[in-house]
Symmetry: C2
Subunit: 452 residues, 2 copies
Amino acid sequence: MPPTKTLAEFVIDTKADAIPDWVLHESTRTLINLLAISLSASRHPTAGTLEAWARAEGGNPRATVIGSGMRTSLGHASLINGYLAHLQDYDDTHFPTVLHPTAPTWPAVLAAAETTRARGRDVLAAFALGAEACCRVALSTHPWHYDEGWHITGTVGAFGAAAGAGWLLGLDSTQMVHAFGLAGTQALGLREVFGSTGKPLHPGKAASNGLQAAQLAKEGMTSTDEILAGRRGFWAVLCGGKSNEEALLAGLGERWELKNNGLKPYANGIVSHPIQEAVIALRNRHHLQPDQVQSIAARTHPLVPELMNRPNPRVGLEGKFSFQHCAAAALVDGAGHDAQFTDAKVLDPVISAVRAKVSATPDKSIEEEEVHLSITLTDGRVVSMHIEHAAGSPKNPMSDAALEAKFRALATEVLDEQQAERLLEAAWRLDQASNIHEVMTLASRQTAASPG
Amino acid sequence: MPPTKTLAEFVIDTKADAIPDWVLHESTRTLINLLAISLSASRHPTAGTLEAWARAEGGNPRATVIGSGMRTSLGHASLINGYLAHLQDYDDTHFPTVLHPTAPTWPAVLAAAETTRARGRDVLAAFALGAEACCRVALSTHPWHYDEGWHITGTVGAFGAAAGAGWLLGLDSTQMVHAFGLAGTQALGLREVFGSTGKPLHPGKAASNGLQAAQLAKEGMTSTDEILAGRRGFWAVLCGGKSNEEALLAGLGERWELKNNGLKPYANGIVSHPIQEAVIALRNRHHLQPDQVQSIAARTHPLVPELMNRPNPRVGLEGKFSFQHCAAAALVDGAGHDAQFTDAKVLDPVISAVRAKVSATPDKSIEEEEVHLSITLTDGRVVSMHIEHAAGSPKNPMSDAALEAKFRALATEVLDEQQAERLLEAAWRLDQASNIHEVMTLASRQTAASPG
């Protein structure tokens, strides 16, 4: 059977009850993480730019934009929510491929769920299947696709949105094949725009295009029987003709890629997380002050200097892709939330002074979630640490308690504590809820505080 | 100066009065052609599918969908109009690159023009500059980009939409550079879906994404300073690292690529047009009947069998990419309008019988607009013809009179004769009009016939 059809049939044939509980629990965790970071991101100026664009365009108020109180069309809501979910670079990561499966998939599923009124367990199942689909497609393209310069979250993400939304909309097998085709021919996103406010448009468009692909395929629009393996399909054109069909299909329904998907403790490019964890641990253990530091030296996976070597970031967003800034902010502030990546933080003289003392040496024997880090102090002492599996990596996942702490820290930038708690509870209970309504209403905006 | 910035500055610095009259006249002709084919295409079922999707989504009624009477958002209108313009494969072609510049560019310009209320001459200028921008980008990527499997009309078309809309919206140089970046990172469209009803989504999305890129860049959204030549930019990632910067920039403002852009006399893949012209000429000269034909043999450019070898098309759309069907329908009906590419025509026993007798031999010494064609008759006679420059090719452009005949044939599928004439006159007069309003109102739908 052609590989795209095999994947499509897996998606449409899997019922919610066949999905393991831990997969649905992990799906709930990715939703809580998405709500937290999207609420925080909704305060960003370019989120307002996109919302103003959507208001001028207009749309029937059928779906919810997180954090803004805006109700709009399914397309606009999924676009903006996809944008918000990736705007702080604080979304989850599928470690084997650097795909961020949530930012394109959840917004498409949420918009479809608001109109189909699916029960909560089915909403979680739709996400789980969408995430599985895009992680599998990502695996089938890795590493050639990302190495060529594609932002895999924008390109492959559209398959996740189409699968999740298509499952909720009840597509049949042929329709799902064509939905994948319509999504795949709209794959988009170049790594060239990394570091700009345009980058999060990639998962936003993956979400809205994938959702629309499912809607149009359901009404009979066609594409191709084989978007992945076709002569001029995704593998041929966007992967230099290389592919891994085995990784796409082996063990579908038996092993689930959410196992390899990690939530982030820091709001920046993931490859520097081990550095930040080591710096914060040494800072706290030895009560280090910025003026005590003579140098910070890391031995790291080669992707760290390749992706994040920006010794002199000029704006906050560039700081997120500067391992030097990440390390310096971790030492000075002891954290790596979005608050550590404002324009002001990047220009802060204390952080800038530390930043100039940070170096990273690539070492092919070191894993992505690993670091050897030493801080040399002005008094001559050297303090060191080896992180084998940074928090948030698959072998050391973020705990539910840590996720709740992250949620509270970010959600309360927009909601009062009471509403944030109610939203957190509603999200944890989604598995038992009759639909997504309560979650989206609470996530939409701060409502008037309830009396007493 | 970086090439993207050079192109951006050419676009924004060129005033309407600096554009040669023949370029504005050619722009008017492409608009008349677009109106004709879009009116005819508006009757197609999948056009209705897309319109139903847009109605469900909703949008402020600020722009016009051709042929449907629908007023909707700028994004939806440009999407649907871009879809309509390419749905019959009847739009114009930039011969050096096989780009169809009108389908992505005009719909973005029209939508922007409806809200900015630009004067008619500026609307034409915006299209001319948009078309020039996307033809130049296409030249810079040719032939590597198309050969890799990209549908150049979807990918490069977004640059035309961004340029045309951006000029109307008054972007400055930096904004236009970022608009190109936002458009280029959203380049999409695989040749894999050729022959499906999803294919025209490519210019539709190029139009709406390019327009949105200009809108967002005007409000400060960023992308990259160099989308074309950047390390992971368009040339690196979508052209296998090959590019022709000279073709992008040489003689900007001195020579105009609309000179190499042809209008189509037949509603199908352009490479078989010489075959159709020869078959129709021989048919008419010798009063040929289908049962007189023993074989039809063509010596052609190699692209004919490469792109259009479909001996047994099953549906009308496949017939458009079957040189065998194009030749057979030309012999039986003496024409190649959309009416020759219905499902019924593909299944017609008379046409099918002729189709089985058609062959094409590739010959590298033959140009794309050329054919040597012989028809062997059942009585042993052979009639032959050599077409050097098929009608609609740059060296033998379609005359204004032939364009008007095409317009009348197609527009009257939707509008009565009187309204079609009024629309044609309004389009020819656009250069002198105070805005695009009359053209779009008349193109929107059949209005009540005026008395007497």
